[in-house]
Structures are given as structure tokens and as C-alpha cells.
């Protein structure tokens, strides 16, 4: 027998009726995308854990204001966006990934380094690329970084980013375009690109 997988709307309704299990299911369903987004914004696992918890607690407390016509994920990402941007605006210094962070669990370096499936040289280059990408992302201004992570990493649509950030469609598209260009310039400056692999990075 195929088990019925509850929709987000059903879980929200269950939570509003007082079911803790329904809320727990919502948290489990969205903990990875929310945590990934926040972690790549703040670059600190402990802060990301705290902020991600805060996102879900805020969502729980404001659930009665959720309009079921929205997608729950869009609404949740809007809370994640506001919470993260508020944190960054409070002026808490961001943790910049260290170049020597070989074992930094949770950053791109760690997840890209799949040494078990590659030769040591390929694994080293993959790690190098991951570190560069991490650095390039961390150099984007927060609103660009958020757009890039939502669009490219989370696969969100333009409309979902508009709803999460409260920005008009044109601004979102412009931000994404500029963010992508800046990311490309940063990666090129770090020595990546066709025909340049290893050249600039070796210097």
C-alpha cells in the first residue's frame, strides 16, 4: 500500500489544529533548504543553526497569518530572507571562509571534496574550485548572494524570489544578472575559466 504523503498545506492545517507531528514533519521537510541557504549566507554553522531555528519558530508563531494561496516554501523563504538579512544588518561580523579550512564541515569545500570517487589530483582540484566558489559567493553583497543561492542552489523561480524578498520582478532579474556577472568576474580573477585552469591560481 502506498503511504499518502501529506502536502505542505495539509501539514500547515494540521499544525494549526495543534498537531506537533505535523509541524515536526514541516521542519524535517524544509530543514535542509533553509539551513543551506542561511549557512551559505552567514558562513558559520553555529549561527546558521541558530538562525534556521529562529526561522522555523517564527513560522510556527505566525502560521495563522499564512495565506494558503501562497506556496509554503515561498512564505518560509521570505521569513528566512528577512531573518538572515536582519542578522547581517545588525552588524555581526561575517565569518569569511579561511583558505586553509581543509576540513570545514558544512561549507562547499567539504561537500565538493568527494575524494573517494576521484584521483587525488582531481579531488584536490575539485576542492580548490569549491573553495574559490565559496570565496566568490561570500564577496557578493547580501541581496545578490541571497538571489544567487535561491535561484541557482535552491532552484527557486523568479516569482518565488520576488515573494521571498519583496522585490519587483525587474529588480530580481537585474540582481541575478549582476550577481552572476560579479560571481563570474570573481571566479575568473581567482584563475578559473576555459584555458586558465591552474594558471592564475598557481601564482
Amino acid at each position: 500500500m502506498v503511504e499518502h504523503v501529506k502536502t505542505d498545506a495539509e501539514l500547515v492545517a494540521g499544525t494549526l489544529r495543534g498537531s506537533q507531528d505535523a509541524f515536526r514533519e514541516l521542519v524535517v521537510r524544509f530543514e535542509r533548504p533553509v539551513y543551506s541557504l542561511v549557512q551559505r549566507m552567514v558562513h558559520d554553522p553555529a549561527t546558521a543553526e541558530d538562525l534556521a531555528q529562529e526561522v522555523f519558530v517564527k513560522a510556527y508563531r505566525r502560521l495563522d497569518s499564512f495565506d494558503p494561496q501562497w506556496k509554503f516554501s515561498s512564505w518560509l523563504f521570505k521569513i528566512a530572507h528577512n531573518t538572515t538579512i536582519d542578522h547581517l544588518r545588525r552588524g555581526v561580523p561575517e565569518t569569511v571562509p579561511l583558505e586553509s579550512d581543509e576540513e570545514g564541515r558544512g561549507d562547499l569545500s567539504a561537500v565538493l571534496a568527494d575524494e573517494g570517487a576521484e584521483s587525488p589530483a582531481a579531488a584536490a582540484e575539485r576542492r580548490d574550485l569549491a573553495r574559490s566558489l565559496e570565496r566568490a559567493i561570500s564577496r557578493l553583497r547580501p541581496e545578490y548572494r541571497q538571489a544567487v543561492l535561491m535561484f541557482y542552489a535552491q532552484g527557486a523561480s523568479y516569482q518565488e524570489i520576488c515573494e521571498a524578498t519583496g522585490l519587483p520582478l525587474g529588480t530580481v532579474k537585474t540582481n541575478l544578472h549582476r550577481a552572476r556577472r560579479e560571481l563570474a568576474e570573481a571566479m575568473t580573477a581567482l584563475g578559473w575559466g576555459p584555458g586558465e585552469t591552474g594558471k592564475a591560481r598557481a601564482s
Binding site: 522555523f56 570517487a117 544578472h177
Partner: protein, 186 residues
């Protein structure tokens, strides 16, 4: 077995090539770049919080108390077992030790020991009081030259400057930062 993930390098090169390829129409280049960059990110698994995240969220939302199994740690369990063994062995020595002490000591011995301990304690206290008195006298002697108006003014000014400097540094470190972007590569 570890599954071979597609290398993100090809997608990265396609993305960067599309960004600099002037021969493509702007829309085409953007589409190619978008698709390639999505491929780069698709090669990256999503990050995950530490296990038990949902429980911590529920506890923070006040839905259930945060329970923590204190015996979850293997080191703690081992330490507990070793402590119990040590206490058990120690307990075996208690009755013979009490018997030996009872044979060795009489009531007058115990009283004598108590009086001697009291005398030693009083002597220690007197020594401590003498040291305290000496320190107090030293402090008073040192404070006399500092009580002049000039020294007090200099001290106050020094404290004021230090306080202002500390506040300035703290503002620099934690004050609200402008979110306007400065290209660190430029």
C-alpha cells in the same frame, strides 16, 4: 560504494565562457550561463543541520522540553562504571579501617587531637590577620601620594580617554555596517 558525481568543472567552464562570449545574443548567453551555473550548484549536495534539528526547533518553540540523554556519551558511561567500581573497592576497606582506628584511638586521643587542631587553626588565622594588616598599611602608604589633585586629575583623564577609546573600538567592530558593495578584487 561512492557514486561518481558529475564534475562541476565542465559546467563551470561553460558558464564562464558564456559570460565572456560576445558572439552570443545577450538573451542566449544569459540562458546558457544560467543553465551552466545551475549545473555547478546541482553538483553540490544541500548542507544539513546537525541531527535532532527538528527536536531543537520544537523545544525552542515551547512545544516539548529539550530532553538530553546524559548517558548518551560513551566516555561518560565508562567514567561512571569506573567510578562505581572504585567506590565498591573503597567500600570494602571501610569496616577494617574503622576497626583499626577504633583500636588505635581512645576518647582522650580524639579530644587532644581536636584541641591541637583548634590551636593550629587559631595560629593560622592570626598569621593571616597580620599579613592583612601589613597589606592594608602598604596600600594606605601608597595611596597617600596618589590623593593629590594633580594625580587624581591625571587618573581621571586617563580613565576617560581609555573609556572613549574602548567605545570607539567597539563601535568600529560591531557597529552597523553599510551593505553597499565594494569589490574586493578591484
Amino acid at each position: 560504494m561512492t557514486a561518481m558525481r558529475p564534475s562541476p568543472h565542465d559546467a563551470l567552464n561553460r558558464w564562464l565562457a558564456a559570460e565572456r562570449d560576445a558572439s552570443l545574443e545577450a538573451g542566449d548567453a544569459a540562458d546558457v550561463a544560467d543553465a551552466a551555473l545551475r549545473e555547478v550548484f546541482a553538483a553540490l549536495p544541500q548542507l544539513a543541520p546537525a541531527a535532532g534539528f527538528a527536536d531543537r526547533v520544537l523545544a525552542r518553540a515551547g512545544l516539548q522540553p529539550a530532553t538530553r540523554d546524559v548517558f548518551a556519551s560513551r566516555a561518560l558511561r565508562l567514567a561512571l562504571v569506573l567510578s562505581l567500581i572504585a567506590v565498591s573497592f573503597g567500600a570494602l576497606w571501610v569496616p577494617p579501617a574503622v576497626r583499626v582506628l577504633a583500636r588505635l584511638w581512645t576518647l582522650s586521643d580524639a579530644v587532644q587531637l581536636g584541641v591541637r587542631a583548634l590551636a593550629e587553626g587559631s595560629r593560622g588565622l592570626a598569621t593571616a590577620l597580620r599579613v592583612g594588616e601589613w597589606l592594608f598599611a602598604l596600600g594606605r602608604a601608597l595611596s597617600v601620594p596618589l590623593m593629590t589633585p594633580q594625580v587624581m586629575a591625571a587618573l581621571t583623564a586617563g580613565l576617560l580617554v581609555s573609556g572613549l577609546a574602548f567605545r570607539f573600538l567597539r563601535d568600529q567592530l560591531t557597529g552597523e555596517r553599510s551593505l553597499s558593495y565594494v569589490d574586493p578584487l578591484g
